[in-house]
Structure formats: C-alpha cells, structure tokens
Amino acid sequence: MRHLLDFSGWDRARVAALFKTARAMKEVLSRPIKTVPTLKGRTVATVFFEPSTRTKTSFELAAKRLSADVVSFSGSSSSLKKGESIRDTLLTLAAYGVDAFVIRADAAGVPHQAARWLDAAVINAGDGRRAHPTQALLDAFTLEEALGDLEGRKIAIVGDILHSRVARSNAELLGLLGAEVWLAGPPPLLPRRPFFGARLTARLEEALKDADAVMALRIQKERLSGGRLPSEEDYRDGYQITEDRLALAKPGAPLLHPGPLNRDVEIEGTLADGPRSLVLRQVENGQAVRMAVLYHLLARRAA
C-alpha cells in the first residue's frame, strides 16, 4: 500500500491487518505515555483545502503519537484559485521533505491528482463527495468492536446520501466486509444511481427495520433551507433518528455519527448521549485507525 485514496484494490485481509495494527495503537493510547518513537524523523503534512477541525486534529495527533513531525496547511480551494494552484501548494510543501500528505479537498479526485504529482505517500482525508476512507475504516472498526464479524449484518446509513463521502466510503468498505448496507434519505438527497451495491430507499422504516447498526450522517444546514430540501422541520419529520424509530432496529443496535453533530436535527438529542451512541468511541478509534494508516504507509523504506 503506497497511498490511501479509496478502497479499490483492498481485500478483507488488508482490512484485518490494518485493524490488528489499530488495536495495537489503541493499547498505546491507553498508556500513561501515549507516544511511541516509531515515525521519528518522518514528516507528515496535513493539507486541508476545506476546513475540518476534527479530522485535521485527529490526523495530527495520530502523527504526533507516532513521533512524526507535523506541518499543516489550511486554505480554501476558492482562495487558491486566485493565484497559487493546488499543485503549486503541494509541490512547495513537498520541497520541505514531506513523507506523507494528508489531503482534504472539496473536489473529488484531488488526492488522486496529488498522488500523480508527488513522490510522497498520499492519504485521502476526504475528497468532495467521493471518499473518506479513514472515516469508513474507523466506522467499520467501531462496528466490529460492537458487533463482531460484519458478514451479513444490516447497516442503515441515514441522511444526505447524495453529497456524502462518508456514505460512499462506508458503502464500499462495509460492502467489502460482507455487510448489507442500506442508504436512506429524502429523495432530493438520494443519488439517482446506486453505488457500491448498497440499497437506496426513501423509506426510512425499510432501512431501519432489523438493522444491526444505524449511522446518521451530518447534514449541511444550508441544504436544509431553500436548497434541496424544503425545511429543517420537513427533514426532521421524515428522517431524524428518534427513540421510536431506532426501536425498529434490532434491540440494542448501536448508533453512530461521523460528527460534528447538528444536535436535534440528525439525531434526537437524548439519543446522541445515550448508552447506544458510539459517537465518542468513534473519535477515540479514529485516532488509533489513523495511527495504523500512518504506520502502514510510513514505517518502511520510502518509495
């Protein structure tokens, strides 16, 4: 594995190997001293052309836990448009001797372009609607902790499916792990064509019925009013995950959310903090999984 762009070319063995490393990283994170010297002397650049404090923090902390040096760049693609290009930015950073680029962009394919331009490892931290592989890995890791083997498990993903890289990457990875993925949302926020073998439905009940786990997606506020949807109330009425609706899933089915949460929009407020919520576990696992990804890409001879 030279880059982590998406899951093309992945098999279950590779996922299992990564998760094994992630479990070792979790043990490291449980220690009083949460740092290991593994990537001493390596440099990781987080390059975020679209703001995301959470993912950026998670990656930077993961890199620091492994003793890598971290440089970070933030700037919107639109401000870049005026002068410097994405390519210029990346090549400039590369000149500092960066070993891995963690890239977030609002356009699909930027990490793939970067991988063509750079010699360093490239990790996709979310590209447009396309993919967010580390999020999917941490979700699958968290689901495996909660449910065991995901083969044959029904996972319902609810919300703005159309614009969601999390939905796409989860459909791809959970499908690879044998889960049956259902994607539910209001019709204007559902893609017109299916992807990665996941099932699409506008009927929330159909997706939730006997689900082994439920994942609510973050919904952009601007899409709720005047955009693709009539109103926030309209969304809540149809698609908010409530106690009653969660009761359609299997007893005790866990609830996930990639964060940040719009409280009382995607999920009824009390549920988000309830015993079935794995939201904080996801954050914790996210760090371990990202450490594992950095380890697999960088704890070896440079390419």
Partner: protein
Amino acid sequence: MSLLIRNARLVDARGERGVADVLVADGRIASLAGGEAERSIEAGGRLLLPAFLDLHAHLRTPGEEQKESLETGLRAAAAGGFAAVVMMPNTRPPLDAPEAVRGVLRRARAAGGARALAAAALTKGQEGRALAELRLLAEAGAVLFTDDGRTNEDAGVLADGLRYAAALGRPVAVHAEDAGLRGEGVVHECPLTEALGLPGNPAEAESARIARDLEVLRMTEGHLHLQHLSTKSGVRLVAEAKRRGRRVSAEATPHHLTLTVDALKTLDPLYKVAPPLREAADREALIEALAEGVVDVVATDHAPHTAAEKAADFLRAPFGIPSLEVAFPLLFTELVEKRGVPLGRLVEAMARAPRRLLGLEGGVLEEGAPADLVLVDPRERRAVDPAGFFSKAKYSPWAGWELLGWPVLTLVGGEVVHARLG
C-alpha cells in the same frame, strides 16, 4: 502557382476514386488527369481527400489568447487537415457585434494556416434573452448563429432566432442541454460516476432539451443544428425528426466517438468536457448514427485551456478537450480501420457535409472545385505526442495512442498551409 500531386489515391464523399495525378492551379482543381505544373509532389499512393471544415472550434480570440491564438489555432487546424474552421463566439467579449466579427475575421486572415469562419452569438452577450443583430452580423461575415457554451433556456427567444436566421439563410446551432437537469453536473451521471462522487449530468438533460428544441423548430422555417450530440436517446430523437423531414442537422465530436465515461476512473480533469463523455452504448449509437448519416457532421469542439487550468481540481478545471490536430487520424484509425465505417462517409462528415450546411461549395474532388485538399498517410503509424502540437493546449486524452492517417500536406485554395512530407 500551379502544383501537381502525382500518384494520389483519391477519396471523397463518394468513396475511392482511384489513383490520379491532380493538377492544382489558380486555387482550384484544374485536372484529375495530370498536366504541367511549376511544382510537383510525389504522393506515393497516399490518400488525397478534400480538406476538412470544422463547424465547431474555440480559438479563444479575442480575450483568452493564453489558451489559444488565431495563429496557433489555425496552424493546428492546418496540421489536422482542416482547410477552414468555424470559430465559436463565446470569446471575451462574446462575438455579438458586427464590428467584433469583422475584427476577428480581419485578424484571422493575417494569421496563416487554415481559413477562419465566424459564428456569431444568437443573443446579446450570449445571455439568451435578446436577439443579437443577426442581419448585421450576417453581413459582417457570420456563417451561423449560436450561444454555444451557454444553453438557450428561453424557448421563445430561440424560436425567434430560428425564424430570423432562416430569413438570412443561416443555421442556428445549439448546445442542447437543460440547465436545470444538468444542475452542477460535471460528468455523465451513471453508477460509475455516482461512486466516484462526481456530480452527475444525466443523459436526459440532453435528450429533454433536444425534444424541446425539435418542437420549437416545428414552429419555424429555420435550420436547427445540434452541436456535439452525445447520447443514444438524443440520436433517436434526431433520427425521428429527420424521418419526419425536419430541417435538423447534428454533429458528433472525436471525443464522444472514441471515449467513454470509463476514462473518468482516473479522476483526471483532462477528460472533463461538456457534454460529458457518456457510456459505451451512447458511443455505439453515435458511431452508428455517423455511419448512417443521422449524425451529419464530425466537428471537433476543439476547446483548449492552459495546462495549469486543466491541472486544477475536477470541480474547478474548465470543460474542454482540444482535438484539431488528432481528429482525422483518430477517427480514421478508430472508426474506419477498426470499426469499418466507410472512409467516404468520414470524408463526407468532415469535408462536404459541413460545407453544405453553411451553403459553401467544395468538399469534393472534381475539376473546378476549390483546391482545399489534404494528403494523408494511411500506413505510417505514429503515437499522439501533445508536446508536438501547434495548438497552445499541449495535452491530449489520446496522448500515446498509435494512430494512422496523419495529414502530411494541407492545401487551402491551392496554397500549402501544412507540409510534413518525408
């Protein structure tokens, strides 16, 4: 000056015409049976065709000469075997005023290479709201009207434009795409691109708009020309309209005839084009439509941008594929050699049909016809090398493709505008 082209295999829209010595004098084909000339060229059995006319090219002048200039664009056209190019009016500012059309045509005459023809905007500023000065634009030299690059959302304005243009003997060319259905789409909408997370532009955006425009056409006496047809359903609508005798014509581009949405797997904005690359079934329908004449014309939609612009991310990179220099060898190799499309049919679609559509003579090999000629080598196999392009756009989706049929000599009105004879 006179020129004798010896031992050329003649091919035009009527097919293979045998080996002949062609005498060119005073800008015309003087004889197909040899004769005395000041200069002579040994064709060595290469193919002599009527040089092509491109109904659809973006030469970016005025205003965006960093992407292409008249000099580079017309030189590229000559290298591609084109005798003439219709320049699209979506320049900066758009060609919507008679003095602007005169200006660009005057500059083009001094640029060398292929001959330039101008398309003018159908509406002021290409905004689709108020008709441009079509009569004055025609007098200034505009050969067709189009708001290409934009979509004609107001059907009433289009209806008026078709009627007015008909009175002037000019076609109206449309970029048929429903802007609402296209939405923010940048690629063909299908399961592949949905998985790639690229906003989709459905085939129905094209077919729905073609259906509307064909209904609008029924209300007028006009000639509707559909640019860059890309969908199977669009082809079906055009075929049916033609069966009913409507005055409609259609073009297809080299990229829609040779590439499909599968190329998007690379996520390379090199393949970002409007309308988008479609599915294999659409490509097959286009090839069949070209072979049968439902698609009348091959037009390049040569749309150059700077390398830096094309290296932007997929959402921000501009739409467009440059193809003037590869169009003929590409289609000769991929359609004629590999798919059995008759060479005569390709020559028809690239040379005679576009001229007829504009009411121009030529596009045939006969005594007295204008000496717009191209000599191509059907045997020399050469890889596409964008670094060697005359166009400023030195990139290509076909880079590295091994092609036959490269033009080695292009004549415009009897004058050599391109020569790379060994």
